[in-house]
Amino acid sequence: MKPFTYERPADVASALTLVAKIPGARFLAGGTNLVDLMKLQIEQPTHLVDVSRLPLAEIEDTPEGGLRLGAMTTNSQVAADARVRARYPALAQAILSGASGQLRNKATTAGNLLQRTRCPYFYDTTKPCNKRAPGAGCAAIGGIHTNTAIFGASEACIATHPSDMAVALTALDARVETKSGSGEARVLALESFHRLPGDTPHIETELQPAEMITAVVLPPPPAGRQIYRKARERASYAFAIGSVAVAGDRVALGAVAHKPWRAEAAELALEQGASPAEAMAAELEAARPDGHNDFKLKLMARLGAACLTTTGAGDGQ
């Protein structure tokens, strides 16, 4: 790691001021991704502002009947919460299907959304990567890696977003609350929080510099059943090669794009009376596999249809 300095401010305002003021400063929450990447020189902050102990670790009921997950709630805490388990089972399942018990005890809600891709060419710093070094090129293109995007990839980047939790949050229509150094608060829909790579794959979210996630807000649970299912290359402790979240009538897919992928075409088809298989076929019409990741078409078609069948999404339309 490159040398850096560290401090732990007492409140959100100080943290925001520090990161706004110091070039190269970064927020440090659970650290399970940031420290990992710092060890490889992929992240090289000059100053770490430790926000892990800020009073943002509560799970509160909202007046609308939803839940506000403080940014610093841990993955374990959210998955263990009785309200989450009863009303947002897809979220609990998604969190519990990610990482390990140890990692979930440290990883936070905000950090989970901000975790970076697991593309092996991103991790291998001897390779060109437009995320690490904008303009350097993309070694994954022409590589032999199969866990790449089938939706929304660009000539600059074919990486996927690795989060399980964010896929469920997308299906649950969660919103992200933020604050910036000026004290300005914003609310972003989770489905538009992450960006497609375009020609700036190093810009992964809509967060502005020195803007901090303060909470993720869940609207009241949708009518209908929820599910999260994940396919992977070992039974546990492995990133998804494809995942599906269904919450009521909303559907989101994981490991298929640079962001959690809301399956709007599938939702529309369901609304119009399509079967689960037809709905997934409608969604996958827009997929652009690259010859290495073609298996994801069949995987998402089947896994998606299975999930929709289980929840009965679209029934009664």
Partner: protein, 167 residues
């Protein structure tokens, strides 16, 4: 930078390079080498320790963030000559071979048993709203953050059943 925490009940006050992970602080500064470095990236679990009773990967946690924390490592489990029940069960069931993942497995087991006792669900919990019953499948899923390349998993499972009073 000055950081104070307790390790195995003993106060420790260190002047730390902010880059030092909790794992390296334990191993290289405090001479507590029981916690192991298998991957240094949170991908194997050999570095698992308990912080305020919760299991974490100490390799991904900067030591300076642990001001005031109560840290328990493998060295803090036995009482004098008496092994912790989880240690005893691992020994009796031959739940290790090379022994390198073992401290992490044992600390993880202790953390896991507490999580289950607190009613935390896992991916394989059928009914998320019901009480947790630690079946074999539950134990396997919950312990999957601790890789064992010698592959002592059947023996680890047996040890955990014994230590957890599930045998």
């Amino acid at each position: 930078m000055k950081t104070s925490f307790t390790v195995n009940g003993q106060a420790a006050s260190l002047d730390l390079d902010p880059r030092t992970t909790l794992l390296d602080a334990l191993r290289e500064r405090l001479d507590l080498k029981g916690s192991k470095k298998g991957c240094d990236h949170g991908q194997c679990g050999a570095c698992t320790v308990l912080v305020n009773g919760q299991r974490i990967n100490s390799c991904l946690s900067l030591a300076v963030t642990h001001e005031g924390d109560a840290i328990t490592t493998i060295e803090g489990l036995a009482q004098d000559e008496t092994l912790h029940p989880v240690q005893q069960a691992f020994l009796a069931h031959d739940a290790f071979q090379c022994g390198y993942c073992t401290p992490g497995q044992i600390c993880s087991t202790i953390g896991m048993l507490k999580e289950a006792a607190d009613g935390w669900a896992s991916l394989v919990t059928e009914d998320l709203t019901a009480d947790v019953v630690l079946t074999d499948e539950e134990i396997r899923e919950r312990m999957s953050g601790n890789l064992c390349r010698c592959s002592a998993y059947p023996q680890i499972l047996a040890a955990i059943r014994t230590a957890g009073g599930l045998a």
